[in-house]
């Protein structure tokens, strides 16, 4: 069972308090983009066995969306951070690097 901390209200709760929202930091492609980009945005997912950046919503709490860095192979949570960013803040990257040296996620890190 996951224990997550909402970065907005600061509440630490187990996973039934939250709802998973899938992969984070998707780059959006809309009308005018190539078919490959649009398909990739809509359907393709990283789905790594390892470090995964993802969206969660504090449904049974403040109701806000936020981001979580987690390992899908061990269920270890590296930290949660604001939804208002396009990539994880440095302290989250450092926390991941400390445990998973050499991790990577698309174009950053």
């Amino acid at each position: 069972m996951l224990i997550l901390e909402c970065p907005y209200c600061g509440v630490k709760g187990e996973e039934t308090e939250f709802h998973g929202g899938g992969e984070a930091h998707l780059k959006r492609f809309g009308p005018g983009s190539s078919e490959e980009d649009f398909e990739g945005y809509l359907f393709h997912r990283e789905n790594p066995k390892g470090v995964h950046l993802e969206r969660w919503r504090h449904v049974n709490g403040c109701g806000k969306w936020f981001h979580v860095a987690r390992d899908t192979a061990t269920l270890e949570v590296f930290g949660s951070y604001s939804a208002q960013v396009t990539e994880p803040p440095q302290e989250i990257k450092d926390a991941i690097s400390a445990k998973r040296p050499g991790w990577s996620w698309r174009e950053f890190a």
Partner: protein, 414 residues
């Protein structure tokens, strides 16, 4: 291969069972094969079997990083049915169901196919309309199902409570020819038949890289060394994304944990399979008397082969309302498997951007029932480059918007 028969049992009994052979060989890998299948689960072994049986391709290796049938093939709730809404789904699942009927004879291996019937409960008005629609669709597809009344449900399942306050039973979709099978035996039977055709099943051999030359596959690197091949089939369910990354393409798939559990054995009380999709629970009774219960999937990416406890609680809580007599049962075991979910909840059997690499994945929460049909279609796709069973399940359907949308049709318990 020595055939199994009543005579063989008598013969071996007379000589203290010293004459049984191993069901399949465990050879070292050769330098090169015509076809390499990654993944010795049901789907991978079935693919190899029909490559040999239908197309005479027997220079085949099946590579498995763990042990044969140790993934989702050994972790499912063994339900076999084909009552799907969309035509392409009904075609491949019905092919699979019909192959299950003769599988024990075809493989000379008892897979204990038990066509005891599968009943999907309609517990909301929405489900009633949905299942009536499915029953009509099935009639057109030549799949035998019918929508039955609550009274008929009670006749079929005497232990059911029709008048639950939250989830009353309003009817059900009944497929009399559905049922269960022995999941391990399906993998073992195919493995024995593949080995007998001269194929090499190589266990504890993990693929670490896919080698390409000029956009074409030439082989794989494994923990037992490099192996060359002309064609590569990736049939690895939850780990499809990992293999696709090695081969250099992306998939519209997310891997999540799905759980099941069994109770202590009790006397026979339910002789069909009951699925309650509104509450994400399904149940049957095994030959040993255990109640086999399947639950819902977790809502986040997961590779750990174990799921969240609260899903077990939700499943059991809902089933207890529908089956009050199971409330005092002790649960013996709980386990999880990693299922590969696509956006439209339909599988992918397809060529890939890498030439001569084929992929069979995305069966999500319902792959066991499809094993023979999946192998049949995948073998044809790999041997001939196309198959009528798989043509609607290509990777390009996502780009072209031609979904085979079963997520609405079948709910969660696929």
């Amino acid at each position: 291969m020595r055939r199994y028969s009543a005579f063989a049992v008598a013969r071996e009994a007379a000589r203290y069972h010293t004459g049984w052979e191993r069901a399949w060989r465990s050879p070292e890998p050769k330098k090169k094969y015509d076809v390499i299948i990654v993944g010795a689960g049901g789907h991978g072994l079935a693919t190899a079997f029909y490559l040999g049986k239908n197309f005479g391709i027997t220079n085949v290796a099946i590579l498995e990083k763990g042990w044969l049938g140790g993934g989702n093939t050994g972790r499912n709730t063994t339900i076999i049915r084909s009552n799907y809404l969309q035509d392409p789904s009904a075609a491949i699942y019905e092919k699979a169901r019909s192959l299950y009927e003769t599988m024990s004879q075809d493989l000379n291996y008892n897979v204990m196919f038990s066509p005891r019937g599968v009943l999907m409960l309609a517990q909301t008005e929405h489900e009633v309309r949905g299942y009536q629609r499915t029953a009509h669709a099935n009639m057109l597809q030549g799949v035998e199902t019918e929508f039955v009344s609550p009274q008929r449900v009670k006749e079929l399942v005497p232990i059911i409570s029709l008048s639950g306050p939250r989830y009353p039973v309003l009817g059900g979709l009944w497929q009399a020819r559905g049922g269960t099978g022995r999941h391990d035996a399906v993998a073992w039977g195919y493995a024995r038949a593949c080995s007998d055709m001269g194929m090499d099943i190589i266990q504890q051999c993990e693929v670490t890289a896919v080698r390409k030359e000029g956009g074409k596959v030439v082989g794989v690197d494994t923990t037992k060394g490099a192996i060359d091949c002309d064609k590569l089939g990736i049939v690895v369910a939850g780990h499809s994304g990992v293999l696709a990354e090695m081969a250099g393409f992306r998939l519209p798939i997310e891997s999540v944990a799905l759980q099941a559990l069994v109770s202590e054995p009790i006397k026979p009380c339910m002789d069909i399979v009951v699925m309650a999709n509104t509450v994400h629970g399904y149940m049957s009774q095994s030959d040993k008397g255990e109640m086999v219960i399947g639950g819902g999937a977790d809502g986040y990416n997961n590779y750990t082969q174990r799921g969240s406890f609260h899903h077990i609680e939700e499943t059991v809580r809902a089933l207890i309302e529908t089956f009050p007599m199971i409330s005092r049962l002790k649960m013996l075991r709980q386990w999880g498997g990693i299922v590969d979910m696509t956006g439209d909840r339909s599988p992918i059997l397809s060529k890939t951007p890498v030439e001569n690499v084929f992929i069979n994945c995305g069966w999500g929460t319902g792959g066991f029932k499809a094993i023979p049909g999946s192998g049949w279609g995948m073998a044809e796709l790999m041997a001939k480059g196309q198959s009528s069973l798989t043509e609607e399940f290509g990777l390009n359907r996502f780009r072209e918007g031609r979904f085979v949308d079963e997520s609405v049709a079948a709910g969660v318990a696929h």
